[in-house]
Symmetry: C2
Subunit: 262 residues, 2 copies
């Protein structure tokens, strides 16, 4: 048992709001797949969303920012609250954790900081935030209770703690609606991208194929894409153009509300 951990637990109990947590669904897009950043618990094959607690002296939104930055190293990305989960069963005491080695870890902490174990095993209400990030700009790293922090494909999510699976499903539903109002590609794609990249992103979120030529036209008609040089892929076919977002025009149009639908 590491002294840092003891210090951390003491600090959490003293400085954070009880029974109230934040979980971040940090979403990225790579190789035509949506991914979510997950942590694996030490000693156990249980994964969870990166989360944390709200300090008594900070706004909930600030807490979400802090947790996101701690986890990805990113500041000022697209981060939004989407839902609060308040089932009465949301307590670590209801977890299979009780039967596993993680229980021993808690007991070991208990010996040194009984208050923390009581605190952490109470019923929690958690507010979900989602962040859209460019995977290539992140440097994820595990925290004190985890030994791995990895991007996991949405189509292949490992076993998750408590209701974290439900939280991820909820955010995807939310994203599908948001897609009609926000061109979220700007956050998930690298600065320059092809129309195919953008289309695959839309298809991944909507979980349905879109007609290629019409998709391209519809996007370009929005008027905030800048066309750059072609991207020579090495393949034996016509090379696609690269595009980027014209942030000026983009912001103008967001103000008005985008308003398209698939």
């Amino acid at each position: 048992m590491d002294q840092n951990l003891i210090d951390f637990t003491t600090q959490v109990v003293d400085e954070c709001l009880p029974g109230k947590s934040i979980d971040c669904v940090i979403i990225g897009f790579e190789k035509q797949q949506l991914k979510v950043l997950l942590l694996k618990w030490k000693y156990e094959d249980i994964w969870c969303l990166p989360g944390g607690f709200i300090r008594k002296d900070e706004d909930m939104d600030q807490a979400a920012q802090r947790i996101l930055e701690m986890r990805t190293g990113l500041k000022s990305v697209y981060l939004n609250q989407f839902y609060t989960f308040g089932s009465k069963k949301r307590s670590r005491l209801n977890e299979e954790v009780q039967l596993t080695r993680m229980r021993h870890v808690l007991e070991e902490i208990h010996g040194k900081n009984e208050k923390f174990v009581t605190w952490i095993t109470q019923r929690f209400i958690t507010t979900g935030y989602f962040a859209l990030v460019d995977i290539r700009k992140t440097a994820p790293h595990p925290d004190m209770l985890s030994d791995r922090c990895e991007w996991k494909s949405l189509s292949n999510i490992p076993g998750l703690m408590m209701d974290h699976k439900e939280i991820i499903l909820k955010v995807m539903e939310h994203l599908r609606v948001q897609l009609n109002y926000l061109p979220i590609g700007i956050s998930l794609l690298p600065q320059k991208f092809t129309m195919q990249d953008l289309q695959k992103l839309y298809e991944a979120i909507l979980k349905k194929p879109l007609e290629r030529s019409n998709f391209q036209r519809k996007m370009l008609k929005l008027g905030f894409f800048i066309r750059h040089e072609k991207q020579l892929t090495g393949a034996a076919n016509k090379a696609p153009y690269l595009y980027s977002f014209d942030e000026m025009k983009y912001n103008e149009l967001i103000e008005k509300g985008i308003g398209f639908r698939y």
Copy 2:
């Protein structure tokens, strides 16, 4: 000081989650205007949303239902969570209340139940729920801390506690988006209504006028309205038909996602 109040405060502190509340924006529609149900504090000219706390043994959604029922007498109406408000300033200690008679009330309670005053004046994070109800079916009544409970027109909201004004603004934004996915008229209008009633409701939510004849066509094409007898208004002009929702067809189409836009 009434014994009920003392019992109530004791019960709240013992049986509810600390620092976590629910506020309900209960929305109705009458005389072509959107209304919201508000409570007026005893002794003070300060209004607030009907709210409450989450018992340790109930889901947050259940708590919202309970609070709604307590306030309006209505069960099983359209009730949904929409956002959680977590500013660090969300405490009754930051209220002008300190300078007013309400402070004396708290102090009076303090004399009898010090724990409650500490509890109630801590920082709260509140989750907003909104309910859509048929005003004609409600029988609002004030609670122990209020002396009035009234429907207030959205265009004429009185001075509100803390961030309750912000909460109402947020829910209206949310409603505007939801309007594209849910025909919320079914909850806000009486069983039979005219197309004009429905149009005025849409206009109130969207805060913009809609073209009458196109609105009517668009709605009827959705296919879940039943036409009834005409409504003789007494006016010197053609009488409009009354319509109601065909719940069967309505539910079928909701499943698929409505999908229209204004």
